[in-house]
């Protein structure tokens, strides 16, 4: 039983990171019906920028101070949000009324551009994060080992998701976002500036992605330029499992994916871990083609 709960704790941490990144896919899809394939790379960009802030402000071997860590998150979020907006303006907006495939190709191109850009700026090698960015103490509760980094990652992710949920559902601008997701033309007739809504989605999604990316770097203590592909793919699957376009769905999908990955790796086979995950995706889509929460269109964003 201890092992089971240990696997749950492991899965929950990864799952909450997937969920953070999945939100970016789902929000963009909700409004533009576009899969932003560059989103995984935006998250990785966040990891690299955070790392640069931390290493340039901290001496070698020393643990970074709280202020440096907070600054790293703030700078990563700002830069990646700006990158997200630029991406929208240059790669997606000119193709808004073009064929759907053109936008997909543009998204894939943007992904390669970002990935190779990161490689050129930060080198193709694996970069390591210093220790002690977030406190790392082991707590043993009933045989289950919980690391304080894990706890912080899960807690911050949940807070951010809650904040996003409240923002979208309880504020005036959130209502505009939901309205644009349902019908852009009608929203425009109601006086909503849909372009502003779209830009806001390209700020919020990448900002959350940047935090997710920085969490990956801190949790695994390394960053490679091409890791956006695998994390992007996993987050994309998470968004689909939950019902793409649906914000609570992305959160649920991320957590489920993390948990399932962890349990499959622990109980069935670590070799087939990823294959089993894809089998789950197919199974869910067969039973519920719109994802677990997909049919609640009124809430989709």
């Amino acid at each position: 039983m201890e092992i089971f709960f240990q696997q749950l704790a492991n899965g929950l941490t990864v799952g909450s990171i997937y969920a953070l990144i999945a939100l970016g896919y789902t929000m963009v899809y909700g409004i533009l019906k576009l899969i932003n394939f560059a989103h995984g790379d935006l998250a990785v960009l966040g990891a690299f920028i955070g790392l640069t802030v931390i290493t340039s402000l901290t001496g070698a071997g020393a643990a970074p101070s709280h202020w440096v860590v907070i600054l790293a998150f703030v700078v990563a979020v700002l830069v990646v949000a700006i990158a997200g907006v630029l991406l929208e303006l240059t790669a997606y907006r000119p193709l808004r009324h073009a064929h759907r495939l053109s936008a997909v190709v543009s998204a894939l191109g943007a992904s390669m551009l970002l990935e190779n850009g990161i490689m050129l700026i930060w080198s193709p090698q694996t970069l390591t994060f210093p220790e002690g960015i977030l406190p790392s103490t082991n707590y043993v509760i009933g045989g289950v080992v919980l690391n304080s980094t894990q706890i912080l990652i899960v807690a911050i992710s949940f807070l951010l998701m809650l904040a996003l949920y409240l923002y979208v559902n309880k504020t005036r601008f959130g209502t505009a976002i939901r309205a644009s997701a349902i019908d852009q033309d009608a929203a425009r007739l109601m006086g909503i500036n849909v372009n502003r809504v779209i830009v806001s989605v390209f700020i919020l999604g990448p900002a959350l992605g940047a935090i997710g990316g920085l969490f990956i770097g801190i949790y695994y203590r390394q960053a490679v330029f091409d890791m956006g592909w695998i994390y992007g793919l996993n987050a994309f699957i998470a968004a689909i499992i939950g019902g793409i376009g649906n914000i609570p769905g992305a959160m649920l999908g991320g957590l489920l994916l993390g948990l399932f990955n962890s349990l499959a790796g622990g109980y069935i086979s670590s070799t087939w871990q990823e294959a089993i995950t894809f089998a789950l995706l197919i199974l869910i889509l067969l039973v519920r083609p719109t994802g677990i929460l997909g049919e609640r269109v009124a809430e989709k964003v």
């Binding site: 240990q6 193709p124 695994y220 203590r221 990955n261 670590s270 871990q273």
Partner: protein, 376 residues
């Protein structure tokens, strides 16, 4: 008309390439290595070492009077890219190819070089690389079996571990080494309580480690690469697993300790000695030259075994006064006690390296290595 002329000229050049390459006074060495990607560190080291050796040869007047030229191809450590590189380098009429780092990419390239009559020397340690009967292939690092035999002895007789867990990734190198260690441990009378796999590069190994924990091992042996090994070690500590950690040779890289962080201390790595711990004069000279050219030390011993592969080929060319790959190969198959950077070496008739001493090193708090086995 102009185009036609160029075409004729190009055809003439390509037809007469092998002859003109000799006559024109250049000899080309190919480097096939993972210059980008997961093992970029290692690949760049190999490329730098070959360029350094080429420069040294050219400074002395070349090889048999010919200028040594180096062309590189990045195989990203992948088998598919390895095959593409082999075609690419074959088309450039290289005389010999140094590299590559991963057994998968080396194996994919082997038949192509063999058909093109090109010498190849790789550090790939998967057993089968020397079992295909390719006459022009020379392994410059000891194979998995030599390492596995030593590791089994170290775990069972040296440390008296009672419950041993063996982890690998799915690369041909890591799986081969893991299987061989599993076998060697059992042969020594040891007890393997867990044999499992990770997916290299997936970064999260907590689920398999949690399963390992339930088997209560006193040591975890990992036969994969440093980037995963460092993560395994740090996640092992995150999960409060108290087992020692012993890593195979591909864990020996400065990045291992950076990734594992504080958890690196006390980790043991089985390998031939680290570059800076090599006692030989050839090693000290080469390291000094490498450092003065690049301002850094080579990333790992594999930079140096590949350099030794190239040095052995150069030695054979000089001794036979010939660029005939078959003559050079015949000489190499009988080479004994050649003073290599990584120790006295030679090759048997299968192209297998002769002469190597494995050691077990413990990582110290300052990141340096201390030999803990054999104790003499």
């Amino acid at each position: 008309m102009f185009k036609l002329k160029t075409l004729v000229a190009a055809t003439a050049i390509s037809l007469g390439m092998s002859a003109t390459a000799m006559a024109a006074g250049t000899v080309t060495f190919g480097v096939q290595a993972p210059i980008t990607g997961q093992y970029a560190n290692e690949g760049q080291g190999i490329e730098k070492a070959v360029k350094l050796l080429a420069k040294q040869l050219n400074d002395k007047g070349g090889l048999l009077g010919k200028t040594v030229k180096v062309v590189s191809c990045d195989d990203e450590g992948k088998a598919t890219q390895g095959a593409l590189c082999a075609r690419n380098l074959s088309n450039q009429n290289v005389f010999a190819v140094i590299g590559t780092y991963t057994s998968g990419a080396a194996g994919a390239a082997q038949p192509i070089y063999a058909r093109a009559n090109i010498l190849q020397t790789s550090d790939g340690t998967a057993e089968q690389l020397t079992q295909h009967g390719y006459k022009l292939f020379f392994r410059n690092a000891p194979p998995n079996s030599a390492e596995a035999k030593f590791t089994g002895e170290y775990l069972v007789k040296g440390k008296h571990y009672k419950r041993i867990a063996v982890l690998s990734d799915h690369s041909s190198f890591s799986k081969g080494l893991g299987d061989a260690v599993d076998e060697a441990v059992k042969k020594e009378g040891g007890n393997v309580v867990f044999r499992g796999y990770i997916n290299a590069g997936s970064q999260d190994y907590r689920s398999v480690l949690t399963t390992v924990k339930s088997k209560n091992p006193d040591v975890i042996y990992f036969s994969g690469y440093y980037s995963d090994g460092g993560l395994l070690r740090s996640q092992e500590k995150d999960l409060d697993i108290n087992a020692d950690f012993v890593g195979g040779d591909a864990n020996q890289n400065v990045k291992f300790a950076q990734i594992a962080g504080q958890a690196a201390t006390g980790t043991v790595i089985v390998n031939v000695p680290a570059p800076e711990n090599l006692p030989y004069k050839e090693a000290k000279d080469f390291l000094a030259d490498y450092k003065s050219m690049y301002g850094e030390l080579p990333p790992s011993i594999f930079t140096l075994t590949n350099a030794d592969g190239m040095r052995a080929i150069v030695k054979a060319v000089e001794a036979t006064k010939s660029f005939d790959p078959n003559k050079v190969a015949d000489y190499l198959h009988n080479l004994r006690n050649f003073p290599g950077i990584t120790g006295p070496m030679g090759f048997d008739k299968h192209g297998e390296r002769l002469g190597s001493a494995f050691q077990a090193f413990e990582i110290q708090p300052d990141g340096s290595y201390k030999t803990v086995y054999p104790t003499h």
